[in-house]
Symmetry: C2
Subunit: 486 residues, 2 copies
């Protein structure tokens, strides 16, 4: 048995037609790059078949989600510990410095909202160890964790195709396609924050803070429609660039927003969900930092707050993987052990003893081949891989090395699949990255976790030749796992 | 109170964005005219607001649907009466002649399937009479009645907008937006035929016969997905042009189809649903008539059979409106009265006394202004309106006049609305045409109606300047009714 099955040209064409039509009929779509009317859509890039994924690894990643929620809520609450690590980055990273400065300003004035919401996603690769496959964490996303909307749909797509379109007995015996309820679960997380905010003299709403010209808009819209349909909560979208023009703060710093439609009357924003503001290039306008400051000091529940966003830095991931402080952040030992199992080797490139050992590896072409150099900041597209590391560091002022961490590359198992993008298929070796979502609502003052839920998953798949994993960055595809025994 | 409300440019832009995104997220879409990847989609043309529609007229149209189902099933069963009328058309209409010839050939051989399925749609305009608004039938569609998939969605769209986006108190006091379950009801009609077909040694399926390069494909796909999801029935799509290449008949004339994917094993087709084969231009290939003959003689349940298709001729509509034979076709008097109330004046242009009177009107520029000349055949785009009628008839050989009927134009009430198409809005006076779907399964031998159900509705709206009503033909929009008291 080979998987996926060989396809004649005719069968492949038929399958592509089925996928293209199903995708548009169900909103598994993105805006195309060329969009003269502004209204065009195209199916999101997907794999023709669900990729095989070890069931034991999938179960492990799902089961550790709530421990990770707790851990990162605890990191955001431990301002002293977090602040020390961030302090090391501030001098070399203007973006992190800018975020921290806002936090300090709001802290000086006094935060008026103790509640924080996380819609997190922990990303893993499968690593083949002698004792069997294990998951290793690639990164932990605390802001704008995307593809929750589309991932639910691609699970439905592959399930539909397995019942209607794939050749018989395509899926391996004993395998299964797990259902994926990311859309309702992320929406439920936002709805819980909305409810926890409490009463207002105004009508209340949730505000999605968006990037202008977002091509992945339907991914976000599916969460919005779940909120309006299942929870009856008004949701509005506001571009990051229009925050100051469109919102005001009351004396109690309630965030008021008057939508361009609906009403002359303002809504009080209970919760902001940031799908913007995570990348330095969004902060070039003179209004950008004041906008973020305006949001942070408001009374609304932030998803995420600046401390939560900073908790997602690569540097924090690296420190957690080696620091004894983990025990203080995650006191329940079985949870801590489960989290520790998912860590891979990460090293700083700073002046510490460990940092100097790592630097020796990174500048040695013979040894750098098993590593990746990652910037502390979020967002794909800037990683330096393997043999390119020594040259890159050689061209970089040594004082800026600490903006990067050196991470052992996980060598995931390869398999075959097709990726369908804009009507065209490409076939080849692919690797899969599993993301697991979690929603968590906590009290930043007391550290109390009020609601904590695993919230579905995302499988992203890319051609082996590409080292980057982001679908939004223009390569890779949304996939779903076909769980198999190992 | 004006309806719809005045919109600032900003509010209109906001509303357009909301509609464009909701439409794609929910599959309220069509393929655009320019589609380089073959995978692009664009929102279906819709109105920004639901148009006002008299509740009494809506209720009347809904309540007469099952009587119309019975009537047209009876017409299809009354081969003698139907045949006489068709006979008059055969000499002047090659298309009708071709269809009738196939029926006669299959009849000579013997039909092997007594069951027939209708997915009908009766279209109405509101006519302002001195006693109040009444509905007048425009036409009755017995083949490829489209927009059932999209009409369910546009009702959901307008309902969503009324809860989230329209300015407060937009909808008139006491009005309501009726839910529209056309998708599940049309699917249930097809599923009932599938179940009634009975057992087979093969796996069974429903086959949608389609046009190549169909731009309104999602409208059809929504029915298919309802069948696979809610009824667990395999559905395949087969272009009209590939019928002979892809299907075979067994000795018992069971229609076997081997899909290009799924299986090497053939499926037995229980039911064919024709979304093709209704227009003469589809019968130009030498394979077209043999394809239709192949389907008609097969054992599968036809939606529609050739007799049902012919029952939908304009000529039949015209004869029914004046013939005493109506009482024989629809014996239940209250049903007959309800149907009669919806008829408008229709005249033949043949040699009869009535036909000569009508011809006198049609060639008189002073009197033709209140009329439309319609070809007997299906499909929009060929009607001749008002002052153009005398000139048109003057250029036409008099022997071909009988291919047309002369119909009193219904002058429907006008209202204001915006139509959104491919990202652009146009505003102005519009008129609305209400279609009501019905599904009916009957035994052609005994005339017994085994299942009869009203199946939701469609509101199509066009600018007043256009006399044609078809959305697919490139003008007009899908709408939903906002029911008001009169």
């Amino acid at each position: 048995m080979t998987y996926p099955p060989a396809l004649t040209a005719e069968r492949k064409e038929h399958l592509v037609t089925e996928i293209n039509d199903w995708s548009i009929a169900h909103g598994l779509a993105v805006r195309p790059g060329t969009n003269p009317t502004g209204a065009l859509a195209t199916p999101a890039p997907v794999t023709l078949f669900p990729s095989l994924f070890p069931r034991v690894c999938f179960d492990e990643a799902i089961s550790v989600a709530e421990a990770y929620n707790k851990l990162y809520a605890a990191v955001a609450c431990d301002e002293e510990w977090l602040g020390k690590i961030i302090q090391e980055l501030i001098e070399i990273d203007d973006f992190i410095a800018g975020l921290w400065k806002i936090h300090e300003q709001v802290k000086a004035e006094g935060y008026v909202q103790p509640l924080n919401l996380g819609l997190f996603r922990s990303d893993y690769l499968v690593h083949q160890s002698p004792s069997g496959p294990e998951i290793k964490q690639v990164e932990f996303n605390t802001i704008a964790s995307s593809f929750g909307g589309l991932s639910t749909l691609v699970s439905s797509l592959h399930s539909h195709l397995s019942k209607t379109t794939y050749p018989k007995d395509t899926l391996p015996a004993g395998s299964s396609l797990p259902p994926n309820d990311t859309i309702p679960k992320l929406a439920a997380g936002l709805a819980a924050a909305h409810a926890a905010y409490g009463s207002s003299p105004h009508p209340t709403c949730i505000l999605f803070i968006t990037q202008s010209d977002e091509r992945n808009v339907f991914d976000q819209r599916h969460l919005e429609y779940a909120l309006t349909t299942s929870h009856n909560i008004p949701v509005f979208r506001l571009p990051f660039s229009e925050i100051l023009a469109r919102t005001t703060l009351t004396a109690e710093r309630a965030l008021l927003y008057t939508p361009p439609s609906v009403s002359e009357e303002p809504y009080e924003v209970t919760t902001i969900y940031l799908r913007a503001g995570y990348s330095p290039h969004e902060y070039t306008s003179p209004l950008a930092w004041p906008s973020r400051h305006h949001l942070e000091r408001s009374k609304c529940i932030k998803c995420p707050s600046i401390l939560s966003q900073l908790a997602g830095s690569k540097k924090i991931q690296q420190v957690l993987s080696t620091s004894p402080h983990l025990a203080a952040l995650l006191t329940h030992e079985p949870e801590r052990e489960a989290v520790l199992k998912t860590f891979t080797e990460i090293y700083p490139l700073d002046g510490s003893e460990e940092g100097q050992k790592a630097a020796a590896i990174a500048i040695d072409p013979a040894r750098a081949g098993g590593y990746v150099l990652k910037p502390q900041r979020e967002g794909g597209g800037n990683n330096i891989y393997r043999s390119e590391i020594p040259g890159f560091l050689g061209r970089l002022d040594k004082g800026k090395w600490a903006a990067f961490v050196l991470m052992r590359l996980i060598e995931p198992p390869e398999q075959q699949n097709w990726i369908l993008r804009e009507g065209k298929t490409s076939e080849g070796d692919v690797i899969c990255e599993l993301g697991v979502y979690g929603t968590v609502l906590w009290d930043q003052k007391t550290g109390e976790v009020m609601r904590n839920e695993q919230a579905g998953f995302l499988l992203r798949t890319k051609g082996r030749e590409s080292d980057e994993g982001g679908v939004a960055a223009g390569f890779g595809a949304v996939d779903s796992p076909c769980l198999v025994e190992t």
